[in-house]
Subunit: 245 residues, 2 copies
């Protein structure tokens, strides 16, 4: 396919939360495009948009892409994939409409766009039909290990990023064969993750980071935490076994 419009879609990572951890390129793109689009939960401002609020001009058109649900429908419920598929279809169509009218669009993404974000769902639907440029961002995990002052890997350590949505036995299996680990998608999976980390014998090395680089940040050894539900913006860091020296 040849691009059907000369306008360009920028898929822009806005970093882990601190507005100063935006890249120069992201700031330039956001300040120059006529349209910014962003995902948001129902009734919320949209985290990616909040991070870059200072770079959006008064005459910028804002396209809010509101998820039909977040955690209300379980992932294994057939409605989940069906409804989210429809939602991404509409989101892509809405962005395409702006591109077709000749407007460049910046789709804002928390962290880095390609590390467990929603933007690949839009990319899949528009790639080949439009000019698309991805602007990488500082990931949430980089933000968290920086704030914890905790280098995760040394030498030949393997780094594994584990979604906390995996079932407990699968988590334990992975944890037992890992050097350094980051556990993401913590939220309501927190009690299960704590149990898996304990069963793997790694609880003494694990650090819990909540709202890394943001207001209300907490960095706490995991074993000091109550195994209750943690907020979505939390990660668990388990450094590798090799020493830096």
């Amino acid at each position: 396919m040849t691009p059907s419009s000369t306008a360009r879609l920028y898929i822009v990572g806005v970093g882990p939360g601190d507005p100063e951890l935006l890249t120069l390129k992201a700031a330039r793109v956001i300040a120059s495009v006529p349209v910014v689009a962003f995902f948001a939960k129902r009734g919320k401002a949209g985290r990616a948009r909040s991070i870059v609020a200072g770079w959006i001009k008064v005459d910028t058109i804002e396209v809010r892409l509101e998820y039909p649900f977040t955690t209300e429908v379980p992932v294994r419920d057939p409605r989940y994939a069906l409804e989210l598929g429809k939602f991404y279809e509409c989101a892509a169509a809405e962005i395409a409409r702006r591109l077709d009218s000749g407007c460049d669009v910046a789709l804002l993404c928390e962290g880095d766009p390609f590390l467990y974000g929603s933007s690949p769902h839009v990319l899949d639907r528009l790639e080949g039909s439009y000019s698309i440029e991805v602007v990488p961002g500082v990931t949430g995990m980089s933000g968290c290990w920086a704030r914890a002052s905790l280098p995760l890997v040394h030498g030949d350590d393997v780094l594994t990023v584990l979604p906390g949505t995996l079932d407990e036995d699968r988590l334990v299996e992975r944890l037992c064969s890992c050097d350094a680990v980051v556990i993401i998608k913590v939220g309501r999976n927190f009690p299960k993750i704590c149990s898996a980390v304990t069963r793997s014998g790694l609880i003494g090395r694990a650090i819990y980071v909540e709202r890394g680089t943001m207001e209300g940040e907490r960095v706490v050894p995991l074993e000091q935490m109550d195994a209750q539900a943690a907020p979505y913006f939390s990660l668990i860091l388990i450094p590798g076994r090799q020493r830096a020296r």
Copy 2:
């Protein structure tokens, strides 16, 4: 220990190579400190320094920390650990000397400071004695997958970052149990890595990225590459199995 100086060491990630992928915070810090320090190979300008050249003032003091060797001494040679240990000791002492004189120092690091960089060796030696702040950066792998327009992970995919320095059987073992993979430290390990990826049955999904976000960038399916030595600034990306839709 209480900090022995009021000056602060900033350990600053400068991103994957494109100077515009510097964060606003990194730019501010680099432009404001009286001293910048950076690692460099013998006879080279220092890549991290080159990326931020536009932000260093004419009166900034530059501390060049030159590696005694890079690949001339094999990692398993006893001289390797011994000589590098001495080198990091001197580098930390040099930075400490500037901090003791009351000057803030920015230690420049390619990509993100804590993803396989040299800065943890300095951190280990100065932590507790000085005020230290880590400024995370965009990683080389984020830069590469953005340029390849290749989301690595979807849904519950596990992401594994494998150093190409591991031996071939260990690489195969890891590759066979992985969803999405990034292979780093390619360079002279390239023929071994190609063999491991082929043995794992993943060669058809692997993408080779050289000099991602920089001049001379190349994005090529791995199976189209000659299995000869690749430059150090290359990565191999293998996306996960799940589809975005």
